[in-house]
Point group: C2
Chain length 480, copies 2
């Protein structure tokens, strides 16, 4: 007889019921050709004896296999592998195990993505992480948000319309944002002009997908937020880099380029450029809007950290000017509250928002409506504003404190311009000190290092004064 005890592996310790282990083993044996179509299986009594299990267990396994059409039971006669099981090619299948790669013979037209992608389980968490400008989640009213979230779910909020038609975002949140963005940013629009996304990056991605294709040109700052560039590259569009200086992106250079070729879109971060933190000057703002009108290009305005400006009130966004629908305005709550809160938004003309919404459904069919409604309540209650006011004051102090520390302890190694706002300082190392030295230290992780500019971003908002001092002391040790 067939050595069933070798193909049917039973682990008594397993959480999987024994009858199901037997069924699964037999399915595997059929699948890999060990048991062929029509093969008679032992009677339940016999197999039970072979395997050392109760007969009822084998009967349950056979019933299971019968229900799934793997075998045919002819009562009182025999049990056999279904005749309808196709004959397999006599090729040898690979041993099972961890799937490491596609076979070459698949000819799968993988796209090449350059980034060295994933973190590994093995990597140790470094002692010191310098982020590129995160909020301090210890200050966030996230617990209030979650309380509301829980009360919404326990009231079975919106059960009728759960999962339907929410791809544009919860209406309550959009309505709150209409008021909130009008008050804080001078933006005049309606809930039709708003799409709620999973964060600023999704807004960038959607804009890129709708505005660009392989025949397009897009202008970005140099240096620029690299993940935005990747989103633009994905469309096949040509990326044209324009220098960013202390007044932001060079609008004269943009004009010269526009005179030579068709530009479809420009991506800017006017408030505090990433990574350099430069604020786009008033005249360049005017000029950019004018160019957009003259040369008919869209402006993708990424305003991820609008609220944190220290030397004056925040600068009004480009989107608050008359712009004939040319400006797509992108914001995020991840920077206001918590990077884990994956809620961002996009303000744009209605036809653009409609197409983005349709496209977004292809990527992500639904949204977390509870969380969006909880956030709407947070805005309505004024809690968001209170939080931002408090956070701004603290971040301002932290910026000044870090400025003082850098001046005192690192001035011989670095240079920087104190940013007028935002959550990070862009620090350039002296030319004889390569920034790669900081990148190779396993105790230290710096999220945004720019080798070409020999610089890195020092996010100060997420750290208190003690932590800032520790980090600066650590850096001093590394640099000297």
């Amino acid at each position: 007889m067939f050595p069933y005890e070798h193909i049917i592996l039973i682990e008594k310790e397993s959480k999987i019921p024994v009858y199901r282990q037997i069924a699964v083993s037999i399915i595997h044996a059929v699948r890999n050709g060990t048991l062929k179509a029509g093969t008679h299986l032992p009677g339940s009594r016999e197999l039970a004896k072979t395997l050392g299990v109760h007969r009822k267990t084998v009967i349950a396994a056979y019933e299971e296999l019968d229900a799934q059409d793997w075998i045919r039971i002819v009562p009182r006669k025999y049990v056999a592998v279904s005749e309808r099981i196709p004959m397999l090619n006599p090729q040898k299948w690979n041993a099972p195990g961890i799937l490491t790669s596609y076979k070459n013979d698949l000819n799968v037209p993988f796209r090449i993505i350059e980034e060295n992608a994933t973190e590994d389980s093995g990597i140790a968490i470094p002692d010191i992480v310098i982020d590129d400008g995160h909020p301090d989640i210890r200050l966030s009213p996230i617990d209030n948000l979650l309380k509301t979230y829980r009360s919404l779910t326990s009231r079975k909020y919106a059960i009728k319309s759960a999962n339907t038609g929410t791809a544009q975002g919860a209406l309550r949140l959009r309505q709150e944002l209409v008021n909130y963005l009008s008050e804080t940013r001078g933006l005049n629009f309606s809930a039709h002009n708003l799409l709620i996304t999973h964060g600023a990056q999704m807004s960038i991605y959607l804009s890129a997908q709708l505005l660009l294709d392989h025949s397009s040109n897009i202008i970005v700052g140099k240096p620029n937020y690299p993940v935005a560039n990747k989103a633009f590259e994905e469309t096949g569009a040509k990326i044209i880099e324009v220098n960013v200086d202390n007044e932001g992106i060079d609008t004269d250079a943009i004009e010269m380029i526009c005179k030579k070729k068709k530009i479809n879109a420009i991506y800017v971060i006017p408030h505090h450029h990433y990574p350099t933190t430069a604020t786009l000057s008033a005249e360049r703002r005017m000029k950019l809007l004018d160019l957009s009108k003259r040369f008919s290009f869209a402006i993708i305005e990424d305003d991820y950290d609008y609220d944190y400006h220290y030397t004056s009130s925040p600068h009004l966004p480009l989107a608050s000017a008359n712009h004939n629908g040319n400006v797509i305005y992108i914001g995020s709550f991840s920077k206001m509250l918590d990077p884990s809160l994956r809620i961002g938004f996009m303000v744009a003309p209605k036809n653009f928002i409609m197409q983005c919404t349709a496209f977004r459904k292809i990527i992500d069919v639904s949204v977390d409506g509870y969380m969006q409604n909880a956030l709407a309540a947070l805005i309505k209650d004024g809690e968001l504003k209170r939080h931002l006011k408090k956070a701004k004051k603290i971040y301002h102090q932290r910026r000044n404190f870090l400025d003082k520390l850098l001046e005192e302890k690192l001035s011989e190694y670095i240079s920087y311009i104190l940013p007028t706002g935002g959550m990070a300082i862009w620090i350039k190392l002296k030319p004889d000190l390569p920034v790669t030295r900081l990148a190779s230290n396993t105790k230290l992780q710096i999220i945004r290092i720019d080798v070409e500019q020999n610089a890195f971003r020092f996010g100060f908002a997420s750290k208190d004064e003690k932590e800032l001092e520790q980090i600066v002391d650590f850096l001093k040790e590394q640099l000297r």
Copy 2:
């Protein structure tokens, strides 16, 4: 003098401070060319009198404008609009207001997306919603999940690594899933083979983007889950439809196609096909795996409602067989727990997962790590399993109850095959009853109607017996 009282609009009731209202009005006037570069502004005393505000308020406004470089203050001499403000073209700008559309002259290469996209604020919520197979969130342990979520955030979970390297998903959740999917589905893999996504749709989108381009061919069932088709269309690939009958997709037809042309991928929902609910038979499963090997195509296996199978244990997924890395396995917690819980997963070879992770960062830079860790705890505690066991029992009863109702009350109008699992029944109307009749009723919303098949999906899982009876009675009224 310039009629400043007409360009500076002050609303005393507004939540925006008056000094900022003044500043914003002046910025708007500069931007639209009303105030030109170099124009002298009235002194603070004079303007305060004109506007009927305190002089300090005007001074604050001027300081604000100065800080943002819109004006230049020469103390004791004059205040003027910055000379650096560029001259505008004398074109007339459109009046501000709700942005409705891009101008034609933008030449923006919008892609055409056919779907009639967004829900509107004006639409009334219908009395009756027939979903296409949602879980009953009243049964979900979502409150437990949120309790864990809150405790994680209040412990400032993972503050050090917040926002870094989590695009593949929280390691704890991936490790729990390795065990869970091995136990429940016989899948053998490691945490490297897992990507956590925002739901099944994102997994489909990412797979499509990596596997397909305009030169590719993909086979899908007819009818099929339409949003998946859209994700495939987006890549420019050719979609080839193959009939789905009561045993699932027709594998003989697939073989014939493969002999004629290169097929890059096949999208299947073997457990309960969408929308028809057919389960792919054992022999077709074998055949499909064999074809995949012979003709080197990838199988995208969407298994969104694995856990709900009533006539036997769930069928093992294709991905549990040896498949040389050809199968990409997609699942979701939205169907297990709550459509608002946007957590899905993908199991695939490591090199594929790495590329998906890199691509996913372009769409969505980070994830909600708290929620993922809370879900990991729910799985570890066995709570997910307990929930699924309970839910399966209840959904099974509801399926049977709906079957009885349909039989009793609607049998003269409809036909259907009782599904062996899942959360919906695929109901075909008799040929003389067009399903459009149900689509046009404003009191009723049916999520998935298929005009070509004259059929719709009746999700039974989300409704209790009383609700099911109400809906069937309502349908009877509409159909007779």
